[in-house]
């Protein structure tokens, strides 16, 4: 199988990730839940992971790195910490439901700063216009999970800082791909998955808190934290305040190896590899009659994710046909209907191919050949049908 669904989960992991998970299951107990050697080993691994993440994202204090279940969990904490019912919240036109739905649940007044695909200057303009005096918060997706569009987050951050508006960055698709510097960015929160570009196991996510009053962060869950146990409320410091219950130590141990892999391989190199594959795939697909590809005509605007459509074929059917040919892609709305509304694909959805450090040019060629084969078979069936119909009509 050629796996091209890395925007959902990177399934091909460095071998060290799997080994670490296996070792953790039998060797790492809960950090802070005992003084024995297994708990201490767990605590050491959790700390090393926080440090490794801190180095990758330039986080001053590892305490501000909170282990979560996934990016949705992290985004829920971040959004619910900062939003009250009726608050005006400006978001991009490319947000995932993990941003949109919590905002709806909180009763926020959502203002969408919509702008066309792969047009960063228009995106900045849209945010500039949408950020009125009564805006309480900005939430922005750094890379669209549907189109791989890299939004101008640094510029949007500057707009927010100039107006004193806190902002949250959804880095689910950008973590491990492009540079994120917490100090420079100045975000209230950055939320990300551990199981995509960071190559950790599923069930891992990260919330990085910026410089804000940690006591003001509402807790989504309450329970054991291994600290201040006689207190009736969650501790007023991070990460304990937001890490109720037993840690996912196999996940965290695997995530540490994933982050180490990125550092060893080089984030920039991985990103360049993926974008080269996207460019190549876009070119090959664009040569096939009947295929529409969403590819950026500007350098630096697209990550290793691309969407496409096949004329007169439902995207789910196309994905099924690709699966039969040994190619794993995703089809549909990708849990981001807003992105499709913005890009004009809400009625059709898209077929999405997303690349990782483990994909090759040969795989891209095989993928494009499979798309061509699907279209030619479909064309052949149509010609046969037409011929059959004309013979029948003649009789």
């Amino acid at each position: 199988m050629i796996y091209l669904d890395n925007a959902a989960t990177t399934l091909q992991k460095p071998a060290a990730v799997g080994n670490a998970v296996r070792r953790a299951i039998y060797g790492l107990a809960s950090p802070g839940r005992g003084g024995h050697s297994f708990a201490k080993k767990g605590a050491e691994t959790a700390f090393k992971t926080r440090e490794a993440i801190g180095e990758l994202f330039n986080v001053k204090e590892p305490d501000n790195i909170v282990f979560c279940m996934n990016a949705t969990h992290a985004l829920n904490i971040a959004i619910k910490a900062l939003v009250k019912a009726g608050d005006r919240v400006v978001i991009s036109g490319y947000e995932h439901n993990s941003v949109y739905r919590p905002l709806v649940a909180m009763g926020a007044e959502i203002a969408v700063a919509a702008s066309p695909l792969f047009r960063p200057y228009q995106c900045i303009e849209a945010f500039n216009d949408a950020m009125t005096w009564d805006t309480s918060l900005v939430v922005v997706n750094q890379i669209s999970n549907v189109f791989g569009y890299i939004l101008p987050v640094d510029e949007i951050a500057e707009l927010c800082k100039a107006r004193g508006i806190p902002f949250i960055v959804d880095a689910s698709q950008s973590a491990g791909h492009i540079d994120i510097d917490m100090v420079r960015l100045g975000a209230a929160f950055v939320a990300m998955s551990g199981h995509k570009g960071l190559y950790g196991p599923q069930g891992t996510g990260i919330l990085i808190a910026g410089e804000l009053d940690h006591l003001s962060i509402k807790t989504l869950m309450e329970g054991g934290s291994g600290s201040n146990s006689r207190g009736k409320t969650m501790p007023d410091f991070l990460p304990d305040r937001l890490e109720a219950g037993t840690h996912n130590m196999p996940g965290i141990a695997g995530l540490l190896e994933g982050v180490r892999f990125i550092k060893e391989k080089g984030q920039r190199k991985i990103f360049e590899h993926e974008t080269r594959l996207v460019t190549y795939a876009g070119r090959l697909l664009a040569e096939i009659p009947g295929v529409s590809v969403y590819i950026s005509d500007r350098p630096g605007c697209q990550s290793g994710v691309l969407s496409f459509l096949i004329d007169d074929m439902l995207c789910e059917v196309a994905a099924e046909e690709l699966s039969k040919r040994g190619i794993a892609v995703r089809a549909g709305l990708h849990c981001a209907p807003l992105a499709h509304e913005t890009a004009g694909t809400i009625e059709t959805g898209t077929i999405r191919a997303s690349f990782s450090a483990f994909n090759t040019r040969d795989e891209v060629r095989a993928f494009a050949a499979a798309v061509r084969d699907i279209i030619e078979k479909k064309k052949g069936r149509k010609e046969y049908q037409n011929k059959y119909n004309s013979i029948n009509n003649a009789h």
Binding site: S225, N228, P235, P239
Partner: protein, 91 residues
């Protein structure tokens, strides 16, 4: 370290969380000071489940200087003798 009737004295630097204790220990280790993360005795951890970093009597002042240089604050400091008796140290 020995004191009086062969009592071994250790100092416990109280930290608000396990992560903070780990950070504290790392700063001290980098400064060449042996530091050990542990849970303090119940009589010290009033709120329960606290963490501390244990350093030897001889290195306490070096430890405090190292933490100060790293802009790392710390909680109370307790003296612990080999019988497990503790008392707060007023700096």
């Amino acid at each position: 370290m020995q004191r009086g009737d062969n009592q071994v004295i250790q100092y416990l630097i109280i930290c608000r969380s396990l992560t903070y204790a780990q950070r504290t220990a790392k700063v001290l280790e980098r400064a060449g000071i042996s530091a050990y993360v542990m849970r303090p005795p119940m009589e010290i951890s009033g709120e329960g489940c606290m963490y501390c970093v244990k350093v030897s009597e001889k290195r306490l002042s070096d430890a405090l200087i190292a933490l100060n240089n790293a802009n790392m604050g710390h909680g109370k400091i307790y003296m612990l003798d080999s019988d497990g008796k503790s008392s707060e140290v007023r700096l």
